[in-house]
Symmetry: D2
Subunit: 356 residues, 4 copies
Amino acid sequence: MIVVMEPKATESQIEKVSNYLQQHGFKINLNRGEVLTVIAAIGDKRMISTATVNSFEGVHEVKLIQEPYKLSGRQSHPEDTIIKFDNGVKIGGLEKPVLMVGPCSVEKEFEGLLEVATAAKEMGCEFLRGGAFKPRTSPYDFQGLEEKGLEYLKEASKRTGLLVVTEVMDTIDIPLLNKYADVLQVGARNMQNFKLLKALGHTKKPVMLKRGPAASIREFLLAAEHIMFNGNPNVILCERGIRTFDSDFTRNTLDLAAIPVLRKYSHLPVVVDPSHGTGKRYLIEPMGKAALVAGAHGLMYEVHHDPDHASSDGAQSLSIPQFKEITRNINKLIGRIDYDNKASHREEKLKEAKRK
Amino acid sequence: MIVVMEPKATESQIEKVSNYLQQHGFKINLNRGEVLTVIAAIGDKRMISTATVNSFEGVHEVKLIQEPYKLSGRQSHPEDTIIKFDNGVKIGGLEKPVLMVGPCSVEKEFEGLLEVATAAKEMGCEFLRGGAFKPRTSPYDFQGLEEKGLEYLKEASKRTGLLVVTEVMDTIDIPLLNKYADVLQVGARNMQNFKLLKALGHTKKPVMLKRGPAASIREFLLAAEHIMFNGNPNVILCERGIRTFDSDFTRNTLDLAAIPVLRKYSHLPVVVDPSHGTGKRYLIEPMGKAALVAGAHGLMYEVHHDPDHASSDGAQSLSIPQFKEITRNINKLIGRIDYDNKASHREEKLKEAKRK
Amino acid sequence: MIVVMEPKATESQIEKVSNYLQQHGFKINLNRGEVLTVIAAIGDKRMISTATVNSFEGVHEVKLIQEPYKLSGRQSHPEDTIIKFDNGVKIGGLEKPVLMVGPCSVEKEFEGLLEVATAAKEMGCEFLRGGAFKPRTSPYDFQGLEEKGLEYLKEASKRTGLLVVTEVMDTIDIPLLNKYADVLQVGARNMQNFKLLKALGHTKKPVMLKRGPAASIREFLLAAEHIMFNGNPNVILCERGIRTFDSDFTRNTLDLAAIPVLRKYSHLPVVVDPSHGTGKRYLIEPMGKAALVAGAHGLMYEVHHDPDHASSDGAQSLSIPQFKEITRNINKLIGRIDYDNKASHREEKLKEAKRK
Amino acid sequence: MIVVMEPKATESQIEKVSNYLQQHGFKINLNRGEVLTVIAAIGDKRMISTATVNSFEGVHEVKLIQEPYKLSGRQSHPEDTIIKFDNGVKIGGLEKPVLMVGPCSVEKEFEGLLEVATAAKEMGCEFLRGGAFKPRTSPYDFQGLEEKGLEYLKEASKRTGLLVVTEVMDTIDIPLLNKYADVLQVGARNMQNFKLLKALGHTKKPVMLKRGPAASIREFLLAAEHIMFNGNPNVILCERGIRTFDSDFTRNTLDLAAIPVLRKYSHLPVVVDPSHGTGKRYLIEPMGKAALVAGAHGLMYEVHHDPDHASSDGAQSLSIPQFKEITRNINKLIGRIDYDNKASHREEKLKEAKRK
């Protein structure tokens, strides 16, 4: 921690800050300039709050010099985390990127969901996604099928062998969801619902944490830290677009640079959702491909058996024929760039990983 | 709803959309131009999702022409909502703006809290705020005293007569909080925690809903709508700063224009939090005054008996002497502009209210 | 400057950076921690670019500890700058806030402009604003009357005694504008047109610099620095709204906290434009009042003799009767809060100024 | 244009708006609902300003239904624009993506620039970029070599056969730059310097227009429209990152979705600058590759012969060995995905283009 004192800070103010930091286990170096004094405090930031130091009289600014995410960060955990499922699917590291597809919400007719799941299996996807509890901006919109939806997902999973990803919205639903889901998703709007993160830390299920629309990468990793700190190391990060000034053509701005940034600073797997990230069907393919080339460990996108009558987010859902065409192109890209020639691929990947 | 078809849309596509809208109770007017066709659909938008209409082939854009917040909007409820408490305090309409003050978190020593509450009472404040459950970005920061904190708040309230405002973070804590609090606060990070909003809709306690850092005014009113739709009309809106590209000097950008905008489009009371909205002690007074002049029904700001040792947000908390000086200035402003000469004041206010 | 080395930085990398900094006149303190090394370099940042230091191998991050705006900052110029005009009008410091009003663009009929100017004079305003050269987002919109517009402004100024504020868009227009204007305005879109800023530094005319819609306060002060560094100390800062994710109800987000921030860190006068800052007529009065209470040295807002037929920005222009009503209320606020009882007012202001 | 009247709008207000629109050549359809009336006006928006319509009494909202960019939009120009240079290089359409590389600024020693240019040629790049006039946020930073820099660029171009891209900052420099440059670049900060855009419309040189950090895609296309409207159809669009709330890890947020969006709505070539777009050397390769996969017609990135001593933006410049490695990878990607098997590639591309 670097504490920059104000130009007019008095000796006693400097001393007060220094003493406080020393009492909390920091080693202090005083740097006195002609204009101002800088206190370099080396130690474990997590013991004290920077806000507290900031509030001492005479302090101009407090700057952190070490990243506050200890468990999610790569510094103390240099190896990539790879999450493994019972059926052999893996996410992370140099593993083949996964595809998670399905409707935004699970709807009344099971047949539609099954149709989607069957097509997904056919195209080599690994996960079936679908919301049973739906967070809707307006109370007048469809709120989800709840447990019935979970049963449908489980049934479709049994018939196809796909793993189930579904959203958890409240701590009280965790036991129920645990029965049905393979991955519990935390929605973007709940990224800083700390009670929920804490409760998910007490399960062992993999958690897919979606980045909040106004969450910085730092806060995103700190949200993952909440889950990990409470005991669950199986966190998948999901970039799904941030909110910016421009929403004329896309609902959010998909921040693809977050992929290599997260892979550099964290060891956790990173998945990208181009459906929510753009809100437009025609952008799923180019942005999905771009995400994979930038290093994503997987993609999540929306498919619906009848998008014209979808109860939510129809405009960003692919129909089944569109889904097949796009997924064929994506598979080709994944295959060609990375997985056809495994030997050369792995070597290259490892070389690249070392460079970072 | 206005549906703009693409220039190349076919007759059958236009018909398909028109039929769908008519089946859902909309009255249709077709506007055929040389280049494109526009379908004006008059009816109750809440019956269908715009996303669904958007996903029909040939649709270029769907534009809403009526605000989707029926209960929180002024259109169907032209009179200001005034929330009344048992001790006679009122918030909203032309009532005297209220002051809600206290520490960010309730801490271990009751004496500190009492000191703050006593000073608050002395300065004429109406509410004591303080967090017992704390949403903290980092899991390494202080997470709150929990029930012990609530007891402290209740005790301080008993001794001073102040009403208690405290944050609710999870649906399962609502019954507990109901026993201690007069106003349940929904934090900015939970503004779209729809499970929580729904549960709060089933209580009768006034809810103070803080605007999310990336929430538009529209979404803010829709979040209020969730609470009201589930049965609780007592919602107070709280502007507390939004996240923008500039955070060098202030943590958030306090959006004061939201006050007159919310007062024009909604009947709910609007309170402003200049402590979180700026993150800086020296900005509380100018921004607090500006908020009142812009029409706020109240202010919420942080006071701590010993900010240098606060366990959270010390940098934005006032010490007790600072609090007294600033509150004196604010009281003077409120008194001078609005409440000294009640007769002329009310007349002016009513005139102004009519203009809107 | 604080240079944080990467955890794995080698001795020779640390030495290389240290030597480079010493060669450029910095005094070096090395702070070695268990995990990482921090180099505190005390000296004049302006001699070297932080980007250069950042690009040395082994450097994790470079943090500035002194503000880079030497001329516009308060550190080296603690007294408020007050800009004085020949007719006795002053802007800045503890002087009475000024009002700058007029149409967005000067239009074909001189009579309309004169009508506005006459009303402005009647209401005690000090400046007539109006664009002769117009920056328009679309090439199909009205582009301004050019020199004819300047003649009209000058004529209206002669007849009423108001000072003229008008926008300069290109270095080649400066000599022409110098003949007609009392204050040269730099539009928000040109805030970082450095050629223009430099050229304005070579004039002596006061320059009103509008904040860019995506400019941080730091960049805003650095833009002022460009003008001052080239020789012109007469800069007025104008906050006019920044671009954020929410533009449903207001065109921009008026950042009123920028007023006290700029007044704390700079000595330059600060004016606020609630017309462009909100884009809505009904927000001019509440936001204008709020700006003054927050410490603005003046307001600029748009008035048109016939807003329904204005060639630009009609929706945010006041009609003359609306202008008179609002200006009456603003004058009352300015008079009541600050200027009626000059003696007590000045004392209070000076006390407050000292506190900062 | 869709004009939504307020619920309380009177007959005479509705009539006033309708008449005004009819007088300006619009065909009017009135849609009367139970709550409100909507006027659909079909005609050429460019004849009138929406702001004017917005300012009529009784108008709630005005919504455009046709894109305002006539020349840069694809609607009236369905074929891709391909810009051709004398040496056979082409940008746009289905042509092979181009690479534009070089230092941020041209510096004192010609040898360094030549070294970069030689390496660029060796790696198959088509353009040498470098700034002779530099827009610098701080007046204390290096401002560019000016004409000497242009001579260096021209000389390096002669020796290597690369085309020259350099920035124009002021209308008065255009004749000078025309002598030296093959492409005139408009910097992000000047994207809405309309005087400059207009003047560039009067030349025939290709113009590379960088997106402003706070410019929406709509405004970006409207800025291109200014150049085209004034006579120059040779505009290249360059995405270089937008400003968002998160700048901890990257200077800007590179908006890669802008590539397919621009390609859908415009026929102009789209180039991406991952150096400025991220501000980090390690992000150039992944983001450059992702941009190409998403459909970019070219990349621009920074190379310096000695980044540790660069006079600007060293942290985001590649050294020559880094440049060669990354460009080798990029070439491999371009070659493999798109250009090895020309026949199948073109067919696929054309198929894809038709789908849009």
